[in-house]
Symmetry: C2
DNA sequence: CATCAATATGACTATATGGTCACAAATGTA
DNA sequence: TACATTTGTGACCATATAGTCATATTGATG
């Protein structure tokens, strides 16, 4: 948690600082990211940062929380009940992700880099915790779908849940792997990751959904 | 590539060195792994290491290569033609992996840690290259199965390939996530990762295969 | 204006490590 | 034994950064 001092800052300065660090952590590993550098860039003293945050990890967690909040505003709009089918819901979630990316590129960049970022041993614990939350959310969804007879019931729920989680991250990784999106480059050019790639994303997403339907749906 | 000096070493010493570093890289990130420490442990001079290898990366790549060779000896036994069905072949590959793990725990540990290991920016390039090889291998398999009419042909080959790749890594990650296996602990106790967990592995594997059959097979 | 608390500052410390290099030891050769 | 070549050695250097702290600055308050 940031200290009071940070919250008391003028909004402008607070955002300047937040954004500068978002940028740093968006292109570097947690361990690589240098407070010294960013602070120099910002023209503020390093000591000040330690008046705002307990330490590097505190700062990092704050950034995660802020970005998550912003993204939530988008995904919480989408509600399962509005869709007759889980996969249309799943699809809709991705579209919200697109909006988020377009409107908040910096936050999107940061979150894109998070996976790699979090492999640093220094934040492994935090990563495991986050991952657990996400997997559990997916497992809960699966459970619901099985319950209402939409998903198959002959496969372990945990397997379905974990696979659904992997499916979510898989689409993005697929697009990165095939150079359709390039988060690193997008960060440099400060453009949304999916700018001009909406069609490609949706096409790939639909392919994955086609596979997933066969795998998950009760036949 | 290790220097000649290294190859000329007595086999015993060569293995002592190799094993010590396998252990180090099995429990730490590439960046975290400390040559200084291992060398101290081994009781040899740091300078000697630089007579054996160009640098840290050279050493690391050597370890990858050695372990891969050993594992290959197992997986190359399995041939697609001996199975009527891709998934039985897939299953058989995992069983060979089990044998490898049981007979070469150290190498298995190292390879298990490789994924996390390779997220260090210092070796990102190497990781991408390795990943590319693996994904391409899977994509080739998929292409073959589609060709002989076993796999569906209405989904992009790249999607099938990438998903199959994810499936391979997914089973292991699933077991780790659910604490069925614990590579870190296994390294400490120097026991094979899957020791006493064969049944669990196979059960989970079969669940994933059940899903995959529905997803990939031509109906 | 004077006083006190909250902030800002940046030189400095502690800490590690990859890699080098001049020199020592060992091994081979004749 | 005398010489040459290959190996082994470990003190040393360059490098970088998270975090600290005594001090200076600012701002509010009466």
């Amino acid at each position: 948690m940031p200290r009071d001092t940070f919250h008391k800052l003028k909004e402008e300065k607070r955002e300047l600082i937040t954004n500068a660090f978002l940028r740093e952590f968006a292109i570097k590993t947690y361990d690589e990211a240098s407070i010294t550098q960013v602070v120099k860039e910002l023209g503020i003293a390093k000591g000040s940062m330690y008046q705002y945050f307990d330490d590097k990890l505190d700062l990092f967690m704050y950034l995660i929380e802020e970005c998550s909040k912003v993204k939530m505003q988008y995904t919480l709009h989408v509600s399962r009940e509005d869709y007759p089918d889980y996969w249309e819901y799943f699809h809709a979630l991705f579209l919200e992700g697109l909006k988020f990316d377009a409107n908040h590129p910096l936050q999107s960049h940061f979150l894109h880099n998070l996976t790699q970022n979090l492999n640093s041993p220094s934040v492994k614990e935090q990563f495991d915790q986050l991952q657990k939350q996400v997997v559990e959310a997916f497992t809960a969804m699966v459970k619901y779908e099985v319950g209402i007879g939409k998903f198959r019931d002959d496969v372990d729920l945990d397997v379905l849940g974990f696979m659904l989680y992997k499916l979510g991250t898989g689409v993005q990784e697929h697009l990165e792997y095939h150079n359709i999106i390039n988060p690193q480059q997008s960060i440099e050019t400060r453009t949304p990751v999916y700018q001009g790639k909406k069609k490609e994303l949706i096409a790939t997403l639909n392919h994955y959904i086609a596979l997933a339907r066969s795998a998950f749906d009760k036949q």
